[in-house]
Amino acid sequence: LGQDLTALGLNLNSPDNLYPTFGGPWADQPCRPQDLDFHVPPEYLIN
């Protein structure tokens, strides 16, 4: 009967595109804000 495709960790009812936060083929949840590279002002790269 195949898989329950709603249980693969993708929010299929999201009004926004999924790809910008797609966690990858093995991830069972989308990327969180702390996972996503972001071009912050260089001053923020405190390191």
Binding site: T21, Q29, D37, E43, N47
Partner: protein, 148 residues
């Protein structure tokens, strides 16, 4: 009517290679820039914790509801990410201002004694990321050119 088809020799050797790779699956952090403190890796939390990201957790409104210390934690430990960007915006909404020379956040503590187009001088609160706490700074001169 198609039924199963026995794997050819070529497929069997492919399967062996795939199987050994299966035991060395890519980690989430392999696809991300190096994160000094919190690499992107699944940390399995107890099932009674919420496993999915909280709804709307990638919005400024959500970050504005976080505590100030949490925002500073996100800012300093999730460098270069969208989370840091959102935390910075939320801090600014709470009238914190980022000083690019000291790379620290300041907040006015009272009406400054001196204000002109280059700087303002007065008593500030700043967040000390080494001692991890807010401190008062008397008579500090905040030069606008260092305001992010």
């Amino acid at each position: 009517p198609l039924g199963a088809v026995p794997l050819q020799k070529e497929h069997q050797s492919q399967f062996q290679m795939m199987e050994s790779a299966f035991y060395h699956m890519p980690q989430p952090s392999d696809s991300e820039r190096l994160r000094t403190y919190l690499p992107r890796n699944q940390c399995s939390t107890p099932v009674y914790y919420i496993q999915q990201p909280l709804p709307q957790s990638d919005t400024l409104e959500f970050y504005q509801r976080l505590g100030t210390e949490t925002l500073f934690f996100v800012f300093y430990y999730m460098e270069g990410t969208k989370a840091q960007f959102l935390a910075a915006k939320a801090l600014k909404k709470q009238s914190w201002r980022f000083h690019t020379k000291y790379m620290m956040w300041f907040q006015r503590h009272e009406e400054p004694k001196t204000i002109n187009e280059d700087y303002e001088q007065g008593t500030y609160i700043y967040f000390d990321y080494e001692k991890w706490g807010q401190r008062k700074k008397e008579g500090f001169t905040f030069e606008y050119k260092y305001l992010e």
